[in-house]
């Protein structure tokens, strides 16, 4: 379903994430005229797949599109893959936490989002929004780390530990799981630092209510340990191809397959697969770029952030090609094509978010 938007003010807001839904529709706005409805899922913008992007990215994309945009959407009653499966649990978690904190803020920021898209708004008006979005981006990093630690620990329990005792040799185990314990320890450390800050901010009265993280320091925290972090991720990244190849060849053994099937079935609600587990580390720090979108270059933390993002970016550099390849090899073994499809979506949207970033640097 295609919707053409004709004017610069599009007249709609977005909500949720992965896929992002259309929120409020302004009466008489071009979105309404074009037939967009509240609750529509946005899958593509100008033919770019955005189904894995969250509302902040989508809002940024729409905001920075200078001309008409074309949206591909899905309606609820249409049978679509998205309704059957939540694609990226990580983002849900983020929005759960932001929206549950105070519905009021979300509501008001949505309103501001809407305002911002209206024609004739000047740059100054959007400054507090930027700050608010930055705060949100910081929270999302916190949520990302938290979710990463939980998922990785779950993965370690589910795959790495049992496999130490059976089916694979210790050398194979090392190839498969590499230094995941270290990666988790690092994230636990960062999480500890972020939480410490939030406690301090509460006691000093700087933090306001639920927004308990001081955003100005996040770059400094990461920068102080960026060497350890990027080294660990570089090592992990370098070995990932081998790890995935090994997984592919292990999947030829029926015992391994049945072990994995058993392991993945545990706690049905949480469907962490071994591929998700292995690829999770290289996806962790992608969300980072977003915070830079909302950090003004005058902010004292800007340099730190830029430094950290560059360092981590290079540590996780050639990831997408690995993942792409890997999932072809794995899917060729099992009936996992759906998963590979999801992966492709995710990569395409990653490329997209990179172009957004570049655009904003230039502008």
């Amino acid at each position: 379903l295609e919707v053409k938007c004709l004017h610069k003010g599009y007249g709609f807001t977005v909500r949720g994430g992965c896929p992002t839904q259309v929120g409020h529709i302004r009466q008489g706005g071009s979105a309404q005229l074009a037939g967009l409805r509240e609750g529509d899922y946005i899958t593509h913008i100008n033919e770019c797949d955005v189904s894995d992007l969250d509302k902040l990215d989508i809002a940024a994309l729409v905001r920075h599109a200078n001309s008409d945009i074309t949206l591909d959407i899905r309606r609820r009653h249409e049978k679509s893959p998205w309704q059957q499966k939540i694609v990226y649990s990580l983002e849900d978690l983020h929005f759960e936490c932001t929206s549950s904190q105070s519905d009021l803020t979300v509501q008001s920021s949505r309103q501001q989002c809407l305002d911002e898209k209206e024609e004739g708004k000047t740059q100054e008006d959007s400054v507090p929004v930027e700050e608010q979005e930055r705060q949100r981006a910081v929270e999302s990093i916190h949520a990302l780390e938290e979710e990463f630690v939980t998922q990785m620990q779950c993965g370690i329990q589910r795959f790495s530990r049992p496999l130490r005792h059976c089916l694979v040799s210790s050398r194979q185990h090392a190839t498969l799981f590499q230094n995941v314990e270290k990666l988790v320890a690092i994230s636990e450390y960062f999480l500890g630092q972020l939480t410490t800050i939030s406690v301090e901010s509460d006691s000093s009265g700087i933090g306001s209510g639920d927004d308990d993280i001081i955003s100005s320091d996040i770059g400094a925290i990461y920068r102080s340990k960026v060497k350890m972090c990027s080294e660990a991720y570089r090592v992990y990244n370098a070995g990932l191809t081998q790890s995935i190849q090994l997984l592919g060849s292990l999947m030829l053994q029926t015992t391994v397959i049945s072990f994995l099937q058993d392991a993945e079935k545990v706690n049905g609600s949480d469907e962490l697969t071994i591929e998700d587990f292995l690829c999770k580390p290289i996806q962790l720090y992608r969300g980072f770029e977003r915070i830079l979108l909302y950090t003004s270059p005058d902010n004292s933390d800007f340099d730190n952030l830029q430094f950290v993002i560059r360092a981590l970016g290079s540590a996780c550099a050639h990831d997408s090609s690995i993942c792409q390849k890997s999932f072809h090899s794995v899917t060729s073994v099992g009936s996992r094509s759906q998963r590979s499809l999801r992966r492709q979506h995710r990569e395409r949207s990653d490329n997209l978010s990179k172009t957004v970033e570049v655009r904003i640097y230039n502008g």
């Binding site: 589910r158 530990r161 049992p162 130490r164 005792h165 059976c166 089916l167 694979v168 040799s169 210790s170 230094n179 314990e181 270290k182 320890a185 690092i186 636990e188 450390y189 500890g192 630092q193 340990k225 060497k227 350890m228 080294e231 660990a232 053994q253 029926t254 015992t255 049945s258 072990f259 058993d262 392991a263 545990v266």
Partner: protein
């Protein structure tokens, strides 16, 4: 680890969760040989090149003590002050901590007191503590006197070990005794008969 195809126990996780995990942490000044000790224990490897640990490393080994297989995680913490806060995050729930010094380096022995204090501040006081003098193969007359070290450890109720990762001397003894002591401490020995599944999976 030779596994016959189809060896998979009925429920791997049930077995895995009944296993006994021991957390071991190694601390001490930069370059005293913490990583070498852990590498030697886990993989029986030694290399002369020095590669400082960036932040933290992790080792794992299944070690049989008195017929019980212990799953030993070893956290190898950087001795650099840059990572003090990272270390402090990792001290909790430790079963065994070994403080390493270099027998040829007096200042690394003087640092031991500080390490003890750091662990006492951030770690759990139930952990078993040991002092390890490493690099005995390089020992010279003017190095740290073993008597001083022994006395220091005895005063604090810690056991004392001497090791050389280059020759391998004392490494296995040190880890075995440490693990034995912690096993006794946890009074696991009495439970052997209750864990028949555990012993089937010796590596």
């Amino acid at each position: 680890m030779d596994r016959k195809p189809g060896h998979l126990p009925r429920d791997v996780r049930a077995v895995a969760s009944s296993l006994i995990w021991i957390k071991v942490v190694g601390i001490g000044n930069v370059g005293v040989g913490k990583t070498s000790l852990i590498k030697h224990f886990c993989e029986s490897k030694f290399s002369t090149g020095y590669q400082p640990t960036v932040g933290v490393d992790y080792g794992f080994k299944v070690e049989a003590v008195q017929g019980i297989d212990l799953r030993v995680h070893l956290w190898d913490l950087s001795g650099s002050c840059e990572y003090e806060d990272v270390r402090n995050e990792l001290y909790s729930d430790t079963d065994v901590v070994f403080i390493v010094y270099d027998v040829t380096n007096q200042s690394s022995f003087e640092g031991v007191e500080l390490w003890l204090r750091e662990f006492a501040t951030y770690g759990n006081n139930t952990a078993l503590m040991c002092l390890v003098g490493n690099k005995t193969d390089l020992r010279e007359d003017h190095g740290v006197s073993p008597l001083d070290a022994k006395r220091w450890a005895a005063q604090r109720g810690m056991s004392y070990f001497e090791t050389s990762c280059a020759s391998g001397e004392g490494v296995q003894t040190m880890f075995s005794e440490m693990l034995l002591a912690t096993t006794r401490k946890k009074q696991l020995a009495a439970d052997v008969s209750q864990h028949p599944a555990v012993t089937q999976h010796a590596s």
